[in-house]
């Protein structure tokens, strides 16, 4: 099976590699880019731990092949904080409201919530629950996560990016 050269921008920087077509975007990010913040839980699209932004849209990186992302702009959890390392409002809110326990699912939640709040800046609780439904937390820390999303929404409304 012929390998294919792919080029994309990951967290603002150019990346390229020659990969087998079956390599998922998640494995490309972890193994070829060394960005191991993108976690793999189920590898078949159920758990949401591998969520990244692909051309700005939250997607499951285990359900996209790297070859399909050729030419795209990708943001992983490593690209959510500012370049100086300042946490984003979503990351701060997760820290402040116990939005994580073991932390395995956290990168997926942070990326999903970042996209969700961009598109739904003033969500109701019902919308937040629906927005979180694609990410699983096996520590079942959902109440803390819910509080974190509410707080992050308020912080964003107060003018933080």
């Amino acid at each position: 099976m012929a390998d294919i050269t792919v080029r994309m921008r990951v967290n603002g920087g150019p990346r390229s590699a020659t990969v087998p077509p079956r390599l998922t975007l998640a494995d490309f990010l972890r193994e070829r880019c060394g960005l191991t913040g993108t976690h793999l839980g189920c590898e078949h699209g159920v758990c949401g731990a591998c969520t990244v932004l692909l051309d700005g849209q939250a997607v499951r990186a285990c359900l996209v092949f790297a070859v399909q992302a050729d030419g795209a702009e990708v943001t992983t959890v490593e690209g959510i904080a500012s370049p100086a390392g300042e946490l984003s409002p979503v990351q701060e809110a997760f820290r402040d409201h116990h939005g994580l326990q073991c932390g395995f699912c956290t990168p997926g939640f942070v990326v999903s919530v970042t996209a969700f709040l961009r598109d739904n800046p003033d969500p109701t609780d019902e919308q937040i629950r629906d927005g979180l439904s694609g990410n699983l937390c096996r520590c079942t820390g959902y109440q803390g996560i819910l509080k974190a999303v509410r707080a992050a929404a308020r912080r964003r409304q107060a003018g933080r990016p």
């Binding site: 099976m1 012929a2 294919i4 087998p20 077509p21 079956r22 998922t24 494995d27 590898e43 078949h44 699209g45 949401g48 969520t51 692909l54 849209q57 939250a58 997607v59 499951r60 285990c62 359900l63 996209v64 092949f65 070859v67 399909q68 999903s112 996209a115 969700f116 629906d130 927005g131 439904s133 694609g134």
Partner: protein, 291 residues
């Protein structure tokens, strides 16, 4: 699990895509959003030797209303359908079905054509296509043809599409007159495939009698299904003369092989199915009666 190896093809247009499908034959699969196909690869339920990626087929994306029909390109994402004011206004059943599909991350990639061509018996869009008598356009090297939704779903994960045929668009009739639409499903968790679901479209004539009734069922057979006996029972009647619970029982009485799995026995699924049909009917009838 990691998906099995495959050869990757990236055609630049429909003609090139169907040419590849014709040349590669049964060893090839088209991939659009991949939200059903990639899990099947990861679970090794499918192992095609070639994947033909449709992402450069820009002409397959978009929503267009013309002559009483809304044409949705097969490559249109579910997220785009959800955002479309045209779909919300003219094909409300599609608009209402869309938020029930997976989660927003899935809908950002998943496409209308992918969902229909994958033809999962428990998926929402196939049942909506049946309830609305949608018409599916397919292209092959031999040309284009139109397939009525009623003839499209032929078996478990199987459709009327030939190996070298690509689903390019779906035409839905624009809602007209006094009409009502509802989709209901029961799933253990939001975003899961439904244990049972129903999509109902009802249209009244000038005298307030049911002129047309379409009921699409999902999760209740090996394919998406219609409920012809229930549809016939409703057609020609006044809304006040139709008992929703009885209609639900009539719809389920027609089915001879309601599936059983670890989520629900056949009996339980049929019981839930009848209740869901009744619930969808009530909401659709309410909307048709009061606008």
């Amino acid at each position: 699990m990691k998906p099995p190896s495959f050869e990757y093809h990236l055609p630049g247009g429909v003609e090139e895509a169907v040419g590849l499908l014709a040349e590669l034959g049964e060893d090839a699969k088209p991939i659009a959003g991949g939200q059903s196909l990639v899990p099947m690869l990861a679970l090794r339920l499918a192992a095609p030797e070639h994947l033909v990626d449709l992402r450069r087929l820009d002409g397959l994306r978009g929503v267009e209303e013309r002559d009483g029909t809304v044409r949705i390109g097969a490559g249109t994402t579910q997220a785009a359908v959800q955002r479309s004011a045209e779909v919300a206004r003219s094909v409300p059943l599609m608009a209402r079905a869309t938020p029930l599909i997976g989660h927003f991350q899935i809908r950002n990639r998943g496409t209308v054509g992918g969902s229909l061509a994958h033809a999962d018996a428990a998926a929402e869009y196939p049942a909506v296509a049946l309830a609305l008598d949608a018409r599916l356009e397919a292209v092959s090297p031999r040309g284009a043809r139109t397939i009525p939704a009623g003839a499209f779903f032929t078996g478990l994960w199987s459709t009327a599409l030939a190996e070298d045929e690509l689903l390019t668009a779906v035409d839905f009739p624009v809602r007209r007159g006094r009409s009502g639409f509802a989709i209901e499903e029961f799933a253990r968790r939001g975003g899961d495939f439904a244990i049972a679901g129903a999509a109902v479209a009802v249209e009244l004539d000038g005298a307030g009698l049911v002129r047309r009734c379409g009921i699409g069922l999902f999760g209740l057979g090996s394919t998406p299904l219609r409920a012809p006996a229930a549809e016939a029972a409703a057609t020609g009647s006044a809304l006040t003369g139709i008992d929703a619970s009885e209609l639900g029982r009539t719809a389920l009485a027609e089915l001879d092989s309601v599936p059983a799995d670890l989520h629900a026995s056949a009996d339980h699924r049929a019981h839930v199915g009848a209740a869901i049909v009744a619930r969808a009917w009530r909401r659709a009838a309410e909307e048709a009666a009061h606008g």
